[in-house]
Amino acid sequence: MAQITHTSPHANLQVTDQSGQSSCFNCVIEIYQTQAYNLARRMLSDWALAKDAVQESFVSAYRAFNRFRGENLTAWVLRIVSNTCRDMLRARKSRPAVSLDPLPSTDSDEPQGPSAVDLPSDEASPEDRAEQSELRAAIQGCLDGLQEDRRLAVLLVDVHGLSYEEASESMGCSLGTVKSRVSRGRGGMRDCLQNTGELLPSRFRQEV
């Protein structure tokens, strides 16, 4: 791993990995917070919870940094985020009083919306935007319907572009397991999207 040096005006929190190399932890945060945030958001399907997950993950990462072997920081950070998300999902499952549907965020700095997939998108016509957001909502809905492990595999490989090797490191499982989870996850997504609305098949055709 190339040394991450202090370039920005924030506090320089020095952390040292297992190999003895020290890095600026806030730089690590700046590099990975977007990925971490999006992974958590799609895993949890909840804005507020995702913020908590990322916050907690970086705190954990800070404390555990001396156990980082200095190899693949992306996989390592996303592994911590994945674990935090899994813990949160488990906690949410054990407390079913909390709705699984995304709650309207009371946090003013987050966009109000029916779900986590209503992201601000690039320039597009209102129709396109509507279709896009509908499609994204459908994708998120299908992701939510996947098994946790498969969802994570699909997110890591397809959305975050990790290699199978990195994904296996992040998920803490074998390469074969990654392959199978990715494949099953994609299969589930395909079936789900084909069954959802009429828009999506056309979309499929269009892209094909």
């Binding site: 917070q33 977007t34 945030y37 954990s60 800070y62 390592w76 700095d109 499609l135 199978y164 990715v182």
Partner: protein, 341 residues
């Protein structure tokens, strides 16, 4: 890897997925390409999969509205780090739980089968009954046996002087033992022999320091006992000096006949001496056996209650620690602690 259909070869989902990700090389790759060329539905599958993956890849990454950059190092863990006692790896608690459970099982089963400590006592009393003649030694027995267990029996037969010596040697231990154990009155009462009774009573009354005074009583008792030859079981606690109660109990058990010698103050002291006097009248040697039976029960009873109290304590401790360990395990399981790489 390959799924064979009746009419044509269909490409498995996993393989197609790997092919799409460019993870197939060499012969498997050639095969898939060949099959794709032959199979329309396979091409359709691949196209759908590719479209799906493309869609997923195009999902936008939302920038978090605020940065997660830390202004200061995070505070030391409060919630995420449990107390020191809860921080050990799980196997520690699992191991502790099983060890404690094992200890509980052992203690309970030993308790149920009669207890370890009461057995030697019974044996002692029996052997004592079997091994008779010893006179004044009861006196020494009461005090002495602890100090010089082995020799006590023999010395008893030999001479008063000797016994006096042993007594002298043993007094300290015996008194301390008697005081410490709080030798129960029932023993003294049950055992009619006055001398010992007197001693015991005195010791009890006077506490630990009474040893010396009781020793004095011994001295007086000795001559008396000499006059009345008694079957003595001073030897009782020969083996273990540790169990003071035994030593005191043992002498009490056998010596019923000594009542006469005890006559002075001993008799008055011992409430149970009702049995004593009769014994005193009866020939010394004949009587021991019935007494042995009666006395050993008493001994084991009192003894048993003493040991079982300890034993019960052990059982409770083992049970409590087992429950505690399991509770910790459950707590940790519920809190879902996870270690990071």
């Amino acid at each position: 890897m390959w799924i064979f259909r009746s009419s044509h070869k269909h490409i498995g989902q996993d393989t197609l997925s790997e092919y799409l990700d460019g993870r197939l090389l060499g012969r498997p790759l050639e095969r898939v390409e060949q099959q794709l060329a032959d199979c329309d539905s396979c091409r359709q599958d691949l196209a759908e999969l590719r479209a799906l993956v493309a869609m997923m890849q195009q999902l936008p990454m939302a920038e978090p509205r605020r940065s997660f950059v830390m202004s200061a190092p995070p505070l030391e863990p409060v919630r995420s780090r449990p107390a020191l006692a809860l921080r050990a790896p799980n196997w520690v608690y699992a191991g502790a739980a099983s060890v404690a459970a094992l200890a509980l099982a052992v203690t309970i089963s030993v308790d149920a089968t009669g207890g370890l400590t009461s057995d030697p006592l019974r044996q002692d009393s029996v052997t004592t009954a079997a091994a008779p003649v010893a006179e004044l030694e009861e006196v020494t027995g009461a005090t002495g046996p602890i100090s010089g267990p082995g020799p006590a029996g023999q010395s008893a037969i030999e001479s008063t002087a000797l016994s006096a010596d042993t007594t002298g040697g043993g007094t300290g231990d015996a008194s301390s033992a008697a005081a410490g154990e709080g030798v129960p009155p029932p023993l003294a009462a049950a055992a009619p022999e006055a001398a010992t009774t007197a001693q015991l009573v005195q010791e009890e009354q006077a506490g630990g320091e009474a040893a010396v005074s009781s020793f004095g009583a011994d001295a007086t008792a000795v001559p008396l006992s000499t006059s009345a030859p008694v079957v003595k079981m001073t030897t009782a606690s020969q083996d273990e000096e540790a169990s003071a109660a035994e030593s005191t109990a043992a002498p009490v058990a056998a010596p019923a006949p000594e009542a006469d010698s005890a006559g002075e103050d001993g008799v008055s002291r011992a409430p149970a001496s009702g049995t004593g006097p009769t014994n005193a009248v009866g020939p010394a040697r004949t009587s021991p056996e019935p007494f042995e039976r009666a006395v050993p029960d008493l001994v084991t009873d009192t003894k048993g209650s003493g040991t079982s109290a300890w034993w019960r304590l052990l059982e409770v401790a083992a049970g409590a620690s087992a429950v505690l360990s399991v509770a910790v395990l459950v707590y940790r399981w519920r809190s879902g602690r996870r270690d990071f790489p």
